[in-house]
Symmetry: D2
Subunit: 338 residues, 4 copies
Amino acid sequence: MIITLKKDSGEKQIDNLVRWVKSLGLDVNVSRGNNTTILGLIGDTSKVDIDLVNSIEIVEQVRRIQEPYKAANRKFHPDDTVINVGGHLIGGDNFQLIAGPCSVESEEQIIAVARAVKAAGATVLRGGAFKPRTSPYAFQGLRDTGIHLLLEAKKATGMPIITEIMSIRHLDLFEDVDIIQVGARNMQNFELLRELGRLKKPIFLKRGLANTVEEWLMSAEYIMSEGNGQVILCERGIRTFEPYTRNTLDLSAVPLVKEKTHLPIFVDPSHASGLSRLVSPLSLAAVGAGADGLIIEVHNDPEHALCDGAQSLRPEQFAALAEKIRVMLPLVGKKDIK
Amino acid sequence: MIITLKKDSGEKQIDNLVRWVKSLGLDVNVSRGNNTTILGLIGDTSKVDIDLVNSIEIVEQVRRIQEPYKAANRKFHPDDTVINVGGHLIGGDNFQLIAGPCSVESEEQIIAVARAVKAAGATVLRGGAFKPRTSPYAFQGLRDTGIHLLLEAKKATGMPIITEIMSIRHLDLFEDVDIIQVGARNMQNFELLRELGRLKKPIFLKRGLANTVEEWLMSAEYIMSEGNGQVILCERGIRTFEPYTRNTLDLSAVPLVKEKTHLPIFVDPSHASGLSRLVSPLSLAAVGAGADGLIIEVHNDPEHALCDGAQSLRPEQFAALAEKIRVMLPLVGKKDIK
Amino acid sequence: MIITLKKDSGEKQIDNLVRWVKSLGLDVNVSRGNNTTILGLIGDTSKVDIDLVNSIEIVEQVRRIQEPYKAANRKFHPDDTVINVGGHLIGGDNFQLIAGPCSVESEEQIIAVARAVKAAGATVLRGGAFKPRTSPYAFQGLRDTGIHLLLEAKKATGMPIITEIMSIRHLDLFEDVDIIQVGARNMQNFELLRELGRLKKPIFLKRGLANTVEEWLMSAEYIMSEGNGQVILCERGIRTFEPYTRNTLDLSAVPLVKEKTHLPIFVDPSHASGLSRLVSPLSLAAVGAGADGLIIEVHNDPEHALCDGAQSLRPEQFAALAEKIRVMLPLVGKKDIK
Amino acid sequence: MIITLKKDSGEKQIDNLVRWVKSLGLDVNVSRGNNTTILGLIGDTSKVDIDLVNSIEIVEQVRRIQEPYKAANRKFHPDDTVINVGGHLIGGDNFQLIAGPCSVESEEQIIAVARAVKAAGATVLRGGAFKPRTSPYAFQGLRDTGIHLLLEAKKATGMPIITEIMSIRHLDLFEDVDIIQVGARNMQNFELLRELGRLKKPIFLKRGLANTVEEWLMSAEYIMSEGNGQVILCERGIRTFEPYTRNTLDLSAVPLVKEKTHLPIFVDPSHASGLSRLVSPLSLAAVGAGADGLIIEVHNDPEHALCDGAQSLRPEQFAALAEKIRVMLPLVGKKDIK
């Protein structure tokens, strides 16, 4: 951490600051220039409150040199985290396809889609039961019924399932869910993250619409700091000024995140653009960028989907896409999906 | 709602779509051009699922003409909402100053600050008990103890209090809190909003860092649609590319929001920039823009604040600012603070 | 174009507006609801000034239904534009690699790099002569000397060359340059675009850092409306709140642009992230997204590059990348580079 | 400047880097931690090419501590720059109102508006002659004729005039123009900035839609480094995700810029929002934020303006606004307009 002091800082104030920093167990390197005095803090600064330092009157600027995340940091944990979900490995040189409908609608629908995506190569089944919707008047998902139907589909096909949690209060319902998804809008719902950190279950943490990679890794750190190291990150588009697409898929984040952390990273090409005709090109793009997997919306009858149908592929489109992905995998150092 | 169809849409598909729209109780105006056919939907389209329409194969584009919010919409409720908080009126031609420390730290601290800001003209006391922090290693607030201390300060000074809720689970603790704040990160925590909509207590709804004005009003609508019409909006800065300030205070949102909705709108100049030296100019700017009030961080000893001290004013700075604000109020059609 | 009128618009004002619209040669469809009257304009609205319409007192909102670009619009020109540059085809099912150093530094340097990238499969040579730099104190390129050196390299290797123009005044120097690049900062330098529209030479139009896809296509339209249809678009990253990468590469723009326009689209993975270690994964991602080519910085000695070295590949890294790209091309319906 | 090195940097590479930095006339402070070695560069680093440093293989991260601008930097020039325009002072404790139509349309129009705004308190006349328009099909201004008409209005009223330049080629036409405006889209047209730096005339430099405050000051530096210190900055809104307003007026930039530089800063509330009904509240907001002046669009007949009429005030609205502004000026330490 580098602290730049204001030009006219008094000696006594500087001394006080240096003494305080040392009291935190850190070393300080003071370098005095003509216009600025700079303090270099040496040691583990991840617990130093940057806002507190900023509040000190003689401080002009504070900058972190070290990343504030530790458990999620590849520097301290160089090996890829590999997570086992019902026998399917996530992370490392493995690649997985998660697929299923935006919303669970009925037993026939979810089982039909599950069978179709499994046949096409998907290894995990997704389906929305609790749906976060901008409007209170829009369909909010089948909620607990949705989860029960997903569990039926799991029984029928043997596929592990993933679905989104929207409130700690619903946690009991997720007992047999294999991966719990935290949606973009809850990425900084810290009370929820902490609670999920106490589970022994993979957490699928979507990036918030306006969150930096660093904040995202800090949210992973919330989960990990409570003891749950099974975090899967998922890039799903960030908010920018471009109106043609719903969000801007940030694929640069994929190789970047793989450098910063050992956690697996997935991409959701369906929600990013909000347009089903972009799903296939963006999926191949994500594989090229080095993603560890994709989560894709597939619907058997997109014209009657109750929500987000605009971004769903039909099963045959998904199968054609999966075919191309498998051809690409060796190019990016990945083993075949299994 | 205007639906633009693709160039080569078949007659039968168009008929199906028109029939479906009519089945929702809406009228349809079909206008056929050379390159596009356009459907104009007439009636209450606020419950039409725009994503569902988008998913229909012949649809090129869907655009809302009417705002999707109703209870919060000034078109249907032209008169300003005025909320009574312990005898102080919020909204209309009233102006209120909410002030207090970022975090509640001790009984002496909160009571001392409360007395100081009350003397300077503040009418409501703020103070953080549950603190959302990006890092799991940063100070998270005194939590329930913080709320008890706020209640002590309320007793000692007679000021109504406002503090932030982070989880539905803590709701019981908020029984004697006068205004419940929903932080920017929870603006789309829909399960929480719904629950707060069942209370009979003012909700202070901060705008999310990456949320549009429309989404913000839709979140107000979540609360209002459950029966609680006492919603106070608060602009606190949005996320942009500019790194010098923590967020970019969107003051254009103030006159805009007053046009779109009848709800009161406050501005938080402390959190937007993250720099205490910008608080006074941005406060005067907010008054000029037409805000119904300000929420300002004030600390008796900013250099030792446990969090966010960087953005806090000292009591004497706050008093000088309040003085200037009172001079400005008649210029913007507001009565004196009381 | 859809014009929504304010609730209380007078009949006479509406009549005036309708008459004025008809005087522009357009038809109008008036639909009156309870809360809003909506005018649908039918005909070629690309020349209607949307700001002028917005200025009319009774107008609440104006929305375009048709895209404002015509020459660049795929609706009116469904076939892909294919451009011949020194025998190499750009667009359609062709794929090209443009490569070379950020800045031209010396004859040896540019010829050495040209030979290396040609051997690895590049078909066009890039090199900066005029360099737009944020700081007046940073190296600004070798300017005319740089162009002369590029022409030497063209002679030595037979590769066509591309380089950036920064001012109309330098146009004479570009006579033997094969493709003229318009940089991101000049995307809306309309006087320059018009002038380039009068040439018979391909123009490589980079997307501005904060420009929407629609504005980008309107800038292409500026060039095309003067008679020059040889425009190649290039996505190079947009400005967002994410600080880890210099810009956010918007790969969703690739399939989107291919849908909206018949012009070829390239991707620049070097400038987007500003980090050389992201160039290879982002290149494969761009191919997956369907790009018609890539423009990549390659340097023989990146540690001593005079500018932007951080984002350059070494020739052997470029060759390995080109190899992988060629394997991918059939997957995205592209012929081998030639 | 702080250079953080990668974990596994070799001693020899570090030595080379240190030697190179010293060869630039800088001192280096090396501090070795367990996970990182950090170099602190001491001296005038404004000419160090940050991209070049980034390109060095052992470098993980480079951060500037000192601002890269010098002539524009308040640290080195603590006193406010005050510019005399036809007897009216700009900067310091002075406040000026620039007003006039978006586009110059005819002699009668410009003279009528000039007289009206002068009577209401404006001291400088604005009017667009060359108009940057997104669409090649939109009205582009009267160009040279527009400038001649502005000069007529100057003669008729004695008001100094300001108008925008779009190309170096038109420079001759600006000989009698008092202030030359550089529009947002040309903020980084470096060739133009340099040329304007050789004049002895105030330059009104608008902030680019997607430019940081630092880049903006670097563009001022381009002008100043050529010898022209008369630069007036103008905030006019930045591009964000919010669609209700055309741009987001960044009023936090006002007090921030006044801290960073001694140059005067104006605000353009007309272009930021694109909505005339927001102009008055945003003007008062800008005064509250501490602006040195405003540039406001005023039209005598906004419903027939040829461009941007949507954001223009009528003369009587402008006069009412000017009245309020004058009441506010003492509150922000400004003398009356004169």
